[in-house]
């Protein structure tokens, strides 16, 4: 389902590593067109503002505070976009031991790891032959205020 990331691989969710696959992605743009070109003004809609790829975007809750330094707290609501190709520095949802884990993707050359933003947390690195699956890229964290 998700591709395995080994040293030197390009990180891509759901891509298969068959050599004969030529990406022709640029030919297709899916998502919202520019709002209200000729139909007048419509009320701002958070879906349009926050969700670039509605078909590829999923909601998740966060459990834990290891990502607090980027503003993701326990209980926050995350928007996860699978259409974005994960890159160094992205906050991602990865699959570790069959579970969804929120971490920052560190990728410099051959060095690929999942980092917590809390410096006391150990990195998660794929061991030899082990798969590191990135499920999606976190684009937003929504937190509720007392009201």
């Amino acid at each position: 389902m998700s591709s395995s990331v080994r040293q030197g691989d390009v990180v891509r969710v759901g891509r298969e590593s068959a050599a004969d696959q030529t990406p022709t992605r640029a030919s297709v743009v899916i998502g919202f067109g520019s709002p209200a070109d000729d139909t007048g003004v419509t009320r701002l809609d958070l879906n349009d503002i926050l969700i670039k790829h509605p078909q590829a975007t999923f909601l998740m809750h966060v459990a834990g505070n290891a990502m607090r330094e980027v503003g993701i707290d326990d209980g926050d609501l995350l928007l996860v976009d699978r259409a974005i190709t994960p890159a160094h520095g992205h906050i991602v949802i990865a699959v570790v031991a069959g579970e969804f884990v929120c971490r920052r993707l560190f990728r410099q050359g051959d060095d690929i790891r999942l980092q917590a933003t809390n410096p006391d947390c150990a990195d998660i690195a794929p061991r030899d032959g082990q798969e590191l699956q990135v499920w999606g890229v976190v684009t937003n964290a929504i937190k509720s205020m007392p009201a």
């Binding site: 298969e16 899916i30 919202f32 349009d48 259409a83 570790v96 031991a97 884990v101 809390n118």
Partner: protein, 447 residues
């Protein structure tokens, strides 16, 4: 050219998107009331589990072979279907949604390498939704469907067909000899619309492979079998002759969907269309003596109207009680539409699908007893329903479709609780805020 894009083992694949630990394990999805297997992972197929096999016959495989059985989660499947369909729709000027996991794309006048386009569709759907698909291209729908079968089988069982055809297979790019070899290697029963009975009869008269069938005399086939089979053979020879309405029905779902001639923006117009579709699927359900446990409704804007804002919502409404009643189904479909409709969009397509189908008259008394919704079951007089519906169908047959319709649809009461016993249902990850997945951000690494 047509393409048939479908999701491999749809229901199981939807479950695996949100439970990655199910990858590589034998998984079945059970029908309503956990009666029988309605979807199987490849690993479950390899265990010898058959489609529609009763649960009690395979239950022992839980312990023996690590089989995982899940209750059907139609809300999840409906939403994932809608995502997948909307992604796929971008790739061709016209899309016909054929079932919850299949659509035909019309590629008339599209140039370029179709296999490359097919791989692109597959890769994008996989990345965006997590669902694995197979893509078949052919000059008729029956051929596209057959090419899809080849693509899927070549992937699942290496050696059955040349490996180059796995996942994406274009009959149009094959040499005549290659196509003959593929047809020689394919049994007649694998052809769209050729059921078990007909394929047994075909075998009796010596027609075993698809190649045998396309080489047979059509006039004789029409006489010995039916006009439908004649059409199938013509399609296999490359002559398109199947309309939307005489296309073979998909398993386990009843569907009616159309693209509109001109886009629709206003709710009343859409209500009318959706009511017609619901009425049509209700009639089909009664014809095949099924009742539906849920109604799936979708509307979609056109990705090819570049200046239009895009909105392609869908919803799956579970019914308090499985039904084939036109009034109840229209009520549910219209209520679903009202829930997803947003003003100001130019909708170009709509569809109504009945899912969670069960044979009529099965287990309804128990369902009432164990209803956990706290709601009274539908407050519709049960007594006269079948008779009324039978009369309605007869009138429509006699005076033409739509001669008699339901003027004001009774709304079925439902607060999201499903009556059925669904002990093993996974969370509705994408349609209920209190059931979305949790991502761990704990200090420790999951082991």
């Amino acid at each position: 050219m047509f393409a048939l894009v479908d999701v491999n083992n749809m229901y199981v694949s939807c479950e695996r998107v949100f439970r990655p630990s199910l990858a590589g394990r034998p998984v079945v999805v059970l029908s309503n009331n956990d009666g029988c297997a309605i979807a199987r992972s490849n690993e479950a197929k390899d265990l010898g589990i058959k489609m529609a096999q009763p649960w009690f016959q395979i239950r022992h495989l839980e312990r023996k072979a690590g089989l995982i059985a899940l209750s059907a989660n139609f809300e999840l499947y409906g939403d994932m279907s809608s995502r997948m369909m909307t992604v796929v729709a971008q790739y061709a000027p016209r899309q016909e949604v054929y079932s919850i996991d299949e659509s035909f794309l019309h590629f008339e006048g599209v140039r370029g390498d179709l296999v490359a386009i097919g791989r692109e569709i597959r890769a994008t759907v996989l990345q965006w939704t997590g669902l694995p698909t197979s893509v078949g291209f052919g000059s008729t729908k029956t051929l596209a469907k057959l090419a899809n079968h080849v693509a899927k089988t070549a992937d699942r069982k290496p050696g059955t067909y040349p490996a180059q055809f796995k996942q994406v297979c274009n009959f149009g790019a094959m040499s005549e000899r290659e196509l003959e070899q593929v047809m020689q290697a394919t049994e007649v029963g694998d052809v769209w619309g050729v059921g078990r009975k007909i394929s047994a009869r075909l075998n009796d008269v010596g027609l075993r492979s698809v190649l045998d069938l396309v080489s047979a005399d059509v006039a004789t086939l029409r006489k010995q079998f039916s006009v439908v089979l004649e059409k199938t053979v013509l399609e296999l020879r490359g002559t398109s002759c199947l309309d939307v309405d005489d296309a073979p029905a998909a398993n386990q779902q009843i569907m009616c969907s159309r693209s509109f001639g001109a886009p629709m923006t206003e709710l009343p117009a859409l209500v009318e269309v959706v009511s017609q579709f619901a009425s049509r699927v209700a009639e089909k359900a009664r014809h095949q003596q099924s009742v539906a446990g849920a109604v799936h409704v979708f509307v979609a804007t056109s990705p090819f109207r570049k200046h239009d804002r895009q909105h392609s919502p869908s919803v799956t409404v579970p019914l308090v009680r499985p039904t084939d009643d036109t009034r109840l189904l229209i009520g549910a479909a219209v209520r679903a539409l009202e829930g997803i409709y947003r003003p100001g969009f130019n909708y170009a397509k709509a569809g109504v699908m009945l899912v969670d189908l069960q044979p009529k008259g099965q287990g309804q008394a128990e369902l009432d007893l164990f209803s956990d919704t706290g709601e009274p079951a539908v407050s519709m007089p049960q007594r006269d329903r079948s008779q009324l519906m039978g009369t309605l169908d007869a009138l429509n047959r006699r005076f033409g479709r739509g001669a008699v319709t339901v003027a004001s649809a009774a709304r079925q009461v439902n607060h999201g609780g499903h009556f059925a016993k669904q002990e093993r249902r996974s969370p509705r990850y994408t349609t209920r805020i209190d059931e979305i997945p949790t991502a761990k951000a704990g200090w420790s690494t999951p082991a």
